[in-house]
């Protein structure tokens, strides 16, 4: 059959089969045992033309309430942020998106240099020495940080804050089960890691203390205090961080973090129903040779010209095989590129500006909600998210908000016992004063 993706004509096929020395294409499949040869037709939908398919799928997409036509106060790890238009233009250059891993550096300098720049920007933001070329997402980076810590300390137990993203924690638990590592939760108190509990759980058996900054409830954890307790027992200090917040907050590196992980989605990556996003993984120089995933390094060619290559590959799974401590092969190159473009567009000034606006607008929203009688709970310092308690189940409130084209906050009752009727509200720079005022007005009745 002829198809627009398949250039082989009948004449081509005849000539090629002749060169091969067979008379039919079936002969080439005769090594498949008769018993397992698939003879019928796949029972899947018939092919559609380009236009017809686009129309059908556009209608399917229209069944979803998107954040461009509605006003979103939903965050919880995935955010509606400014995405410079040039970002999509850059990643639509097919020299980038139709390439694979840069195995041949002579014809992959573009990708390699872009990743080297990404590594630099992530290291800058987090205050760490080294960042890798990216990971699947924030959740799996978080889990990989625990695996690295266990390997590095030769200890089999990690402490994870009860105030981290519940889905990252769930991923961590699955990974830990694979490697027989015990995960113990440090309870949260008023939406922050309970430092007294941490102190009593701490021992020389602990491989890592893992917290989130700002944490899942939006609060700023006391990284200074947690660092002391962690390093007193020579455990690894792992911080998961929203990189955009680091335009305003002191970076985890300055507090002595050993590993900083997170997701670069806030840098303009489409929310895309949860993926693909872009995990990052940054470490101290000491851990440089233990990082999972790929690293790009600078070097010279035979003529002394500067260039970039994949490096320190002895760490990687395809070399270490059954000695590997991580099996990640790929990175999220295209999304790392996308977030690099956004970080570049924001630049030194914009990263501070955008973080400042998030901080200010969330503070304003908090104030307006309180003025409307809505209970903002947990107190504490927050970045761009905070928790309110309503008199009605959040899922019901969200259905009502949707009628006003508002996508409400995350229903904390889904994942946290004792947090029924609590909503986690995110306010990014994208939200206007009017939109915030409208939310306060709408939530008044549930105060």
């Amino acid at each position: 059959m002829m198809h627009r993706y398949l250039p082989m004509t009948e004449q081509d096929q005849k000539e090629m089969l002749n060169t091969i020395g067979v008379s039919s294409v079936e002969e080439l499949f005769e090594d498949i045992p008769e018993k397992v040869r698939f003879k019928g037709e796949l029972n899947i939908k018939p092919a559609k033309t380009e236009s017809a398919l686009m129309k059908e799928l556009a209608q399917l997409a229209d069944k979803n309430a998107d954040t461009q036509k509605n006003t979103s106060f939903l965050g919880a790890g995935v955010y509606d942020h400014y995405s410079p238009v040039i970002m999509d233009h850059v990643i639509s250059r097919s020299e980038f998106y139709t390439a694979y891993t840069p195995y041949q550096p002579e014809i992959s300098q573009g990708e390699l240099q872009a990743i080297f720049e990404f590594q630099t920007m992530i290291a800058e933001l987090t205050g760490m020495d080294v960042a890798n070329s990216s990971m699947y997402d924030g959740g799996t980076s978080f889990a990989e940080a625990a695996m690295l810590s266990a390997g590095q300390t030769k200890r089999k137990k990690v402490l994870v804050s009860g105030a981290v993203h519940p889905e990252s924690k769930a991923v961590l638990e699955t990974y830990a089960a694979g490697q027989h590592i015990e995960v113990v939760t440090i309870p949260e108190k008023d939406g922050r890691t309970d430092l007294e509990e941490l102190a009593s759980l701490m021992s020389d058996e602990i491989a890592a203390v893992m917290v989130q900054y700002p944490n899942f409830f939006g609060q700023i954890e006391r990284l200074d205090e947690i660092e002391k307790l962690t390093h007193a027992q020579k455990a690894m200090f792992v911080v998961s961080s929203n990189p955009l917040s680091l335009g305003a907050l002191t970076p985890p590196g300055a507090f002595g973090a050993d590993i900083v992980v997170g997701d670069a989605q806030p840098f303009g990556l489409p929310q895309a129903f949860g993926g693909p996003h872009c995990g990052y993984f940054a470490v101290t120089k000491k851990l440089m040779r233990k990082v999972p995933g790929r690293l790009v390094g600078e070097t010279n060619d035979e003529e002394g010209q500067r260039g970039y290559v994949l490096t320190l590959q002895a760490r990687e799974q395809h070399i270490r095989r059954d000695k590997a401590t991580s099996n990640i092969c790929s990175n999220q190159a295209l999304n790392a590129l996308a977030s690099s473009v956004t970080m570049t567009a924001l630049g030194k000034q914009g990263i501070q500006d955008i973080a400042h606006q998030n901080l200010q607008k969330a503070a304003y929203a908090k104030k307006q909600l309180q003025a409307a009688g809505v209970k903002v709970i947990n107190g504490g310092y927050t970045f761009n998210e905070f928790v309110v308690e309503l008199n009605t189940p959040v899922s019901e409130v969200n259905k009502e908000l949707m009628k006003k084209k508002i996508i409400g906050g995350f229903d904390l009752g889904r994942d946290f016992e004792g947090r029924a009727n609590q909503m986690l509200i995110a306010v990014t720079e994208q939200r206007t004063k009017e939109e915030i005022d409208l939310l306060a007005e709408e939530l008044k009745q549930y105060a």
């Binding site: 993706y5 037709e41 390439a99 300098q109 799996t140 129903f273 693909p276 030194k348 901080l359």
Partner: protein, 491 residues
């Protein structure tokens, strides 16, 4: 064609330039020190570049020109299935109702997305011959690990805690043993026989009551179909183990043979390979996993289910291995794969495999005269040749690969599989025309002649790229992994 370096974006930075557009703050401003605890206000601004919008476009455009993709030219990288990436996929993935929806929105507001996911799962179930599919894993390696974790959970649920070993052929990709280790297993290697297939006698020798699973790619990494697959399945199943299918090479057998019918219990797919992902320079990918009935209880949660009221995520899965990824997988890549499958239909997918296999066999036969062919039989979608003959002339496979760059081609996968000396693994895919294959073949023939007549032209290649061979030893010995403002100093 050597040219000047493109400076790093940081080197283009000039104080005060901006490339962004943010509105004025429209809410009353509060002093930062009132909003953040003392000691937590960032003191030193991060050194991100200061450039204008045009600077950014020029920079990345310059970088893109220093990169080879499938749209730039032929890319026969074995086992990677570097086929054409349809543009309609890109358009559909950017529809607002797919790109700009939040994973934690109320389910009633994302029924279209869930319907797409469900239908994709149904299509993959049919294509693989499995009973159920999860879309959660982010990539092939992630899928491997997910599948192995499920196999472990299955054995443990049967009170079978001694099944600690996973058997992997010696020709397997390094990821297979790495995934087994990360899932808590030991790896046992089974040898290949003189025909490049798994040695059944050796398999019988290594299999025992500790066998959790056999991981297999079929066709294997040599591009050969494991003809004894049913015997192998019987050996593993009789011993109480499970059969794992690495879907890296599924492009060879679409609508021709289904892993489920071959006896496989678990399958992972690489949607960025067979189903036109695209590859994105190394990701994002998507690695769905399909299973047979007895493994369904262990699927990662949540599981997408269809009810009379619509689609919903089922979190009540007590035997599930848990989550392997936040949310529901790389949805954006899954949209692209779905668009591709719907574009091809049943006949199209069958033609994909037929044409991929014809292309590979055609190239193999034409190259056989000039290079050593370690396994002289019909291949599937890819094949391996050896540069042994050229090595005797002082030209290594690496040199051949570099010389191909001068002809505008991406080289094949080299030095893999590791059981073939001076290996080149070539996968043309079905989207390449005969003229393209012919021009690559001509280039290979010319290089073979050069190896005999003027080997230095091959040994010193590439000659036309923007940069010559890079010093990888220096890169690893004195790692420079980031730019630093004054001098790029060692970290």
């Amino acid at each position: 064609m050597r040219n000047e370096n493109q400076p790093l974006i940081f080197e283009l930075s000039r104080e005060g330039r901006i490339g962004y557009s943010l509105p004025e703050l429209d809410v009353p401003e509060i002093e930062t020190k009132e909003l953040l605890p003392s000691g937590f206000v960032r003191q030193e601004a991060p050194e991100l570049p200061e450039v204008s919008e045009l600077d950014i476009m020029r920079h990345y455009t310059a970088l893109s020109k220093r990169n080879h993709g499938v749209d730039s030219g032929f890319y026969p990288l074995g086992s990677c299935t570097m086929k054409y990436n349809p543009k309609v996929n890109e358009a559909v993935a950017r529809y607002a109702g797919f790109a700009h929806i939040h994973p934690l929105q109320d389910e009633s507001t994302v029924q279209g997305a869930m319907e797409m996911m469900y239908d994709l799962q149904e299509h993959l179930v049919e294509i693989t011959g499995m009973d159920e599919v999860t879309l959660q894993p982010a990539a092939g390696a992630h899928g491997e690990w997910t599948g192995l974790m499920m196999i472990r959970a299955f054995h443990e649920a049967n009170g079978d805690f001694n099944r600690t070993k996973v058997i992997v052929p010696d020709s397997a990709h390094g990821t297979n043993p790495a995934s087994a280790t990360v899932a808590g297993f030991e790896t046992v290697t089974v040898k290949s026989n003189e025909n490049g297939l798994v040695d059944l006698e050796d398999l019988k020798r290594v299999v025992d009551h500790q066998t959790a699973a056999l991981m297999l790619t079929n066709p294997n990494t040599l591009g050969l179909f494991e003809e004894d697959i049913l015997e192998m399945a019987a050996i593993i199943h009789d011993a109480g183990g499970k059969l794992y299918y690495d879907g890296a090479n599924l492009n060879a057998v679409l609508a021709k043979a289904r892993p489920g019918d071959m006896g496989f219990d678990v399958v992972h797919l690489n949607l960025h390979k067979t189903f036109t992902g695209p590859h994105g320079g190394g990701g994002p990918g998507s690695g769905p996993v399909g299973v047979k009935k007895d493994l369904i209880p262990y699927l990662p949660k949540p599981v997408l289910v269809k009810t009379e009221e619509g689609f919903t995520f089922d979190y009540n899965r007590p035997e599930s291995i848990g989550r392997v990824k936040p949310y529901y997988g790389n949805f954006g890549i899954n949209v692209r794969a779905y668009t591709y499958i719907r574009t091809m239909g049943p006949d199209g997918l069958k033609a994909v495999s037929e044409n991929a296999v014809i292309n590979a066999n055609y190239m193999m036969r034409r190259l056989a005269e000039y290079f050593d062919l370690p396994y002289d039989r019909h291949c599937k979608h890819e094949f391996v040749i050896s540069g042994k003959r050229q090595k005797k002339l002082g030209v290594r496979t690496l040199d051949i690969a570099k010389r191909l760059l001068d002809f505008g081609f991406h080289p094949p996968t080299i030095y893999f599989p590791i059981n073939v000396e001076e290996c080149m693994m070539i996968e043309p895919t079905e989207t390449e025309s005969k003229e393209t294959l012919d021009s690559f073949i001509e280039a290979m023939i010319q290089i073979a002649k050069e190896a005999e007549e003027k080997p230095e032209i091959v040994q010193e290649a590439p000659h036309t790229t923007v940069i010559s061979r890079l010093d990888e030893t220096q890169a690893a010995r004195k790692p420079v992994l980031r730019y630093q403002k004054k001098e790029a100093v060692e970290v």
